[in-house]
């Protein structure tokens, strides 16, 4: 069992430790960047081919008009939610243990949203006309269709992405100032000078900063909920069996938080190892994150069961048939794997000893994420393969290598963005760690005084 952050850690030491992560990349860093670049290259290659030839090369067909692209899109959108959870919700709740880990979680939000946005593009049959979906006054005198959940989706993602970027940036300004003050002169210093906007930590700046940060956090919470509800609306607003479910929005939101938390555990472990952040990303934090994840896992499990139950007890025979098909048909292995990964694997998190076991939690978090990806796939594909119309059902459908390639590439893209982020933005929020340490030491002091005073 690791120790929590030492309360007597020197603030200068915090600066040093974190700033170290920004400089002098280790070989491992370059290896990861290279691998990520290769993966991304595969994805780009597949996309170029698909762009040239048409969507047919993705192996999509008449009933299966959406494939892995939409499933993976939801996956990435979902992953973005944990950043908001950690930085906004826990911020409002004054859970100080979020402080060392929220920065990279927020970055994850931003980058997974950017990745998700790519999938919207990749999915379009006429990518070169994507701007038709953008609402702006134009010479064509046309507007997008505001009734379409896809448009709500685009709008929600745009709002979410830009708000997240702003949130991430605003929250990093004091840290940029630290970087500015400590980094050797050169382009990086200039960059940080620019990014810090002349931040000096004056009382006026801090005062406004606090209110702004709180306000944006307040906005982000309903926004995050609305984003995934809207993604759920893409499905729930349609008439298709297996999608037309009232509980979809909360189900999606829970799934989103779930996959995001799992991803945070994964990244937590990786960053902790790569940047030697053992002092900040401590075991108690991991433990808290794991417990939170477990709680969300149970919420998700519940909503998952609700979904099955509401289908099962409805009189919608077709939806029921889709459910049976999920459990017994061609996609049954994946469906059962999803249930296993999503609802059974998290029970390992109940074992106290394992909650802080790095290898176990790493494996578990990966499994959870796999389960969440499968969940999205199992939402999208079986409904297409087994829709209302018996004649057009298609059980032979299997995504082509192009689809897999682009999905694969998206992980490379995400990793690449994250790697670049790690070297530019401090992945641990220095000033907030200081705050945390400060408040904790104050509390300890008070407690000691209280004890001495005796009542």
């Amino acid at each position: 069992m690791g120790k929590d952050i030492r309360e007597d850690i020197a603030w200068a030491h915090i600066n040093q430790d974190v700033l170290k992560s920004l400089e002098n990349p280790r070989p491992l860093f370059w290896v990861i960047v290279f691998v990520a670049l290769m993966m991304f290259g595969v994805g780009v290659g597949c996309e170029v081919y698909q762009y040239q030839m048409g969507m047919g090369v993705a192996g999509l067909n008449n009933p299966n008009v959406w494939g892995l692209y939409i499933a993976t899109f939801i996956f990435w959108i979902g992953m973005s939610h944990s950043g908001t959870l950690l930085s906004a919700i826990l911020h409002l709740m004054h859970a100080d243990w979020r402080k060392p880990i929220y920065r990279f979680a927020e970055a994850m939000t931003t980058f997974s949203l950017m990745t998700a946005g790519l999938f919207v593009m990749v999915h379009l049959g006429r990518l070169w006309q994507f701007y038709y979906a953008v609402p702006y006054p134009n010479e064509r005198w046309t507007w997008p269709n505001f009734q379409s959940p896809l448009l709500w989706d685009a709008m929600a993602i745009f709002t979410y992405l830009s708000s997240s970027v702003i949130f991430l940036y605003v929250g990093s300004i004091p840290d940029f100032a630290i970087c500015r003050d400590n980094i050797h002169p050169g382009w990086r210093k200039n960059l940080y000078t620019l990014l810090a906007l002349g931040w000096e930590g004056t009382d006026r700046q801090w005062r406004n900063f606090r209110v702004t940060y709180l306000t944006v956090a307040c906005f982000l919470i309903p926004l995050a909920v609305s984003v995934h509800s809207i993604v759920a609306s893409d499905f729930a607003m349609s008439q298709q069996p297996g999608w037309h479910v009232t509980s979809f929005p909360p189900y999606f939101v829970a799934g989103a938080l779930y996959s995001g938390c799992a991803a945070i555990i994964t990244l937590f472990i990786i960053l902790r190892y790569v940047f030697k952040f053992e002092e900040y990303m401590t075991m108690p934090i991991l433990k808290k994150t794991v417990r939170l994840t477990f709680a969300i896992a149970m919420v998700w499990t519940y909503l998952n069961l609700i979904e099955f139950a509401s289908v099962w007890y409805s009189h919608d025979e077709v939806a029921k048939a889709v459910l049976i098909d999920k459990a017994t048909g061609r996609f049954a292995p994946f469906w059962w794997a999803m249930n296993f990964c999503g609802s059974v694997v998290p029970f390992t998190m109940m074992v106290k000893r394992w909650q802080t076991s790095i290898p176990i939690m790493f494996a578990v978090s990966l499994l959870l994420n796999l389960g969440m990806w499968l969940e999205r796939w199992m939402i999208v594909t079986p409904t297409f393969s087994h829709g209302y119309y018996p004649w057009t059902m298609d059980t032979h459908y299997w995504p082509s290598l192009v689809q897999w390639g682009i999905v694969f590439g998206s992980f490379g893209w995400f990793t690449l963005l994250f790697m670049v982020f790690c070297k530019i933005v401090p992945s641990v929020s220095m000033y907030e760690v200081k705050e945390m340490v400060y408040h904790r030491s104050l509390a300890t002091k008070k407690a000691e005084l209280g004890l001495e005073g005796g009542h």
């Binding site: 709500w152 630290i178 930590g201 406004n208 606090r210 209110v211 907030e432």
Partner: protein, 176 residues
């Protein structure tokens, strides 16, 4: 009378607080604690506000205006464009349907709110700003800075107060 800036660095908030309280209580000519004193700190510390006395924050007004105008803009833009583009007739649906418009209004409400809040933050916090000449990188590390603007005459008084409270460092700069 020319003014000069002085920056004193302290190890912790307690010391800084003691200095500020003393400065606020003392009557130094050409120095008004409310206007001429700036506390620079590496972390946000709510108590700073307490010992500095109440100072208003106006960001929320930006928020209110931003959110409302975002929402209104969205609704009228969407409803207006739908009503203007009659050919987008959807079987079984009104030309201007409220439920979907509400979703977008909601999103734009938040978008406007966030954008204008941040704009308000920049305005209220005076960012981006030139850095003041008296700045120490130690402030962003672990020390508390007290930046004062004072008449040349009173500089010595202040310096003595700073020193009394074990200032780690005192920087001075001739004023304008």
């Amino acid at each position: 009378m020319s003014k000069r800036h002085m920056l004193a660095l302290y190890n912790n908030f307690d010391e800084a607080e003691a200095v500020v309280r003393e400065l606020r209580n003392s009557e130094i000519k050409g120095f008004n604690a409310a206007d001429d004193l700036v506390v620079k700190s590496p972390i946000e510390h709510p108590e700073v506000e307490e010992f500095l006395g109440h100072k208003p924050v106006n960001v929320q007004w930006f928020t209110l205006i931003g959110a409302l105008s975002g929402g209104l803009l969205a609704f009228f833009l969407i409803a207006g464009s739908q009503a203007n583009f009659y050919s987008q007739m959807k079987g079984g649906k009104p030309i201007v349907p409220f439920p979907p418009d509400f979703v977008l209004t909601y999103e734009m409400f938040i978008l406007g709110g966030v954008y204008i809040t941040v704009l308000g933050f920049l305005i209220c916090a005076g960012l981006p700003a030139r850095r003041s000449p008296l700045y120490s990188a130690k402030v962003s590390t672990d020390q508390i800075g007290l930046l004062v603007r004072v008449d040349d005459n009173s500089a010595a008084t202040l310096r003595s107060i700073f020193t009394k409270h074990q200032a780690l460092e005192i920087q001075e700069e001739a004023g304008k």
